[in-house]
Point group: C2
Chain length 335, copies 2
């Protein structure tokens, strides 16, 4: 029988921790490769494939928000890093740092959300650890997820492949996650609620990752589209030109941004892909994405041009402004 | 130029975060497989070997203590889980959740300690993530490390192999880490300072992991020797009999335990191995361990007996007491 709230004893390595792990984590995350009595789990990796690894920590506030929670975010954030690198996500390792006093029912909802996201993304949680920190030493719950995926050795994507004339694409509207979390945090009374786009992008990535002419993919999370564009500009030593009129932003996101002075291009997405591709491939990618769930509103939003490394936004009224590298964080702790 | 203290802007995905990662993390952790511009890193895994994964979160207080710090602890704790499972540790993924206000010099000392431990253990940090949480939402620094190692497919250790008559061994004195952290936390004025045993046990594990008659290894961390003995007793459905007179405990640890009412058998070690082996193998293991650094004081400390699942301590004065499963945590946050 579990307590109503997490206590320090749930982190001590003894009976309470065993019960927490068995009754909350193992019950929801059960899969053939998860054995909570082992220190290390074997990974079944197909011969001839390259194994790749990625890791992320999650400190989002609040822990639950429209469209997701810290559990589904932790799964999808890590799965998406694998998918955009060209790898099929297979396994997750999960660390939970729980603050004393967290409601057990809330923890269980979040672990259930995590388990559901893992099933949907086709990944098995095979290793984990929990720690409990005293009240006042954590934000309720922090998660860290490490993902392992596999890709064929010949599949190679990278910012070094980007050429002048390439097109910049995005798989859907930007800024939903950032605004959804912000609205859940503050008691704003704004109409047109926005849900996070939190989702695995594996189907969007897998549809195109062997396409001739695809150069690079990235999921625009912390720092948003503008930050990915910056990384591209500086790594490729090119100018990234984005067309404001082409970048999809939901009306509700746009109006919250106007009201509160946010720039949607710097807000996090958690279920979008930014791709750079040769022009012919770009057309094919958009056609493929439009037919997939989550890709219906995919757009070509800009081009790569010779010139100094910078991100230039061609505004709707015909002007230009630079999207500078992010300094002040408009919305901390959105992932 | 970095600030003196970590600020929220160091976690925002923009320039400050890039500088923190480049100047603190990447500089110390540099290795050929670490590219901070990639979302996912490729793992070079030899053909024919089984890849294994393990993960741990670390919330130790204080962050630095005699014999180690949260950085070296995070490396060794994860490396040791791989080593005792029979796998050679190869790669680490690292997540850092940093509290706003942490002194940059302290963070850098800890990352340097982490890098040193990784070099000593022969593992490369190939993926990472940092998040910054507002002041009052973290204990200075939390780390999560995920380790990937490789083992030959025929190497199999497990509690299910344990038989009545097997010997229980420990590679060195128990409780050092727990007492070292406790003394560093409180302003005790106790003579005979104790240093943590924090170290990679890979050499101790590798010396014996293909030995005929070795059944099982485990590093006795949270919950200590008694907790490992408990897991063995319940998984193998046997009685674990430990001899108090044979269990190595340093005098300084013993006297602190007497003074403060701790039981050393429940205190964490971070550089010890508990092994279960057939009697003949046990003798060979002790001979091998005695010749290795960190194994000089290895001892046979008990036996596996038919009987109900329990841990029985034969006391020095000829009595018996049960070592029950841990309920109250004597020393929270020691790892």
């Amino acid at each position: 029988m579990l307590d109503d709230h997490v206590t320090l004893a749930h982190g001590n390595g003894g009976r309470f921790m065993r019960e927490l792990i068995d009754e909350v984590f193992a019950r929801h995350l059960a899969n053939p490769a998860l054995d909570t009595h082992l220190d290390a789990a074997a990974l079944a990796l197909p011969a001839g494939m390259v194994a790749v690894i990625t890791t992320d920590a999650f400190t989002v506030q609040p822990l639950e928000f429209p469209g997701g929670d810290i559990g589904s975010l932790a799964v999808n954030g890590t799965v998406n890093d694998l998918a955009v690198s060209g790898a099929e996500p297979r396994y997750l390792a999960l660390d939970a740092i729980i603050e004393e006093g967290l409601e057990m029912a809330r923890l269980e909802r979040i672990v259930a959300g995590l388990a559901r996201a893992a099933r949907e993304a086709g990944v098995a949680v095979v290793a984990g650890d929990t720690k409990v920190v005293p009240r006042g030493n954590g934000g309720g719950l922090y998660l860290a997820t490490t993902g392992v995926g596999v890709r064929p050795p010949q599949r190679r994507l990278g910012m070094d492949l980007i050429r002048a004339g390439d097109a910049v694409l995005v798989s859907g509207p930007v800024g939903d996650h950032g605004i959804a979390v912000m609205l859940a945090r503050e008691a704003f009374d704004l109409s047109g609620p926005v849900a996070s786009d939190c989702a695995a992008v594996t189907p969007l990535a897998a549809a195109i990752w062997d396409m001739e002419g695809l150069r690079f993919m990235r999921d625009p999370t912390r720092g948003g589209l503008a930050t990915v564009a910056h990384e591209i500009a500086f790594a490729a030593r090119k100018t990234v030109r984005l067309m404001e009129s082409a970048i999809p932003v939901r009306d509700a996101v746009r109006s919250v941004c106007r009201m509160l002075g946010y720039d949607p291009y710097y807000l996090a997405c958690e279920g979008r892909v930014v791709a750079v591709a040769a022009p012919r491939a770009a057309e094919q990618i958009l056609a493929l994405w439009h037919a997939l769930p989550g890709g219906e509103q995919a757009c070509a939003i800009g081009t790569i041009a010779d010139g100094r490394p910078a991100v230039v936004l061609e505004t709707e009224i015909g002007g230009e402004r630079f999207l500078e590298e992010l300094e002040d964080d408009p919305l901390p702790r959105i992932c």
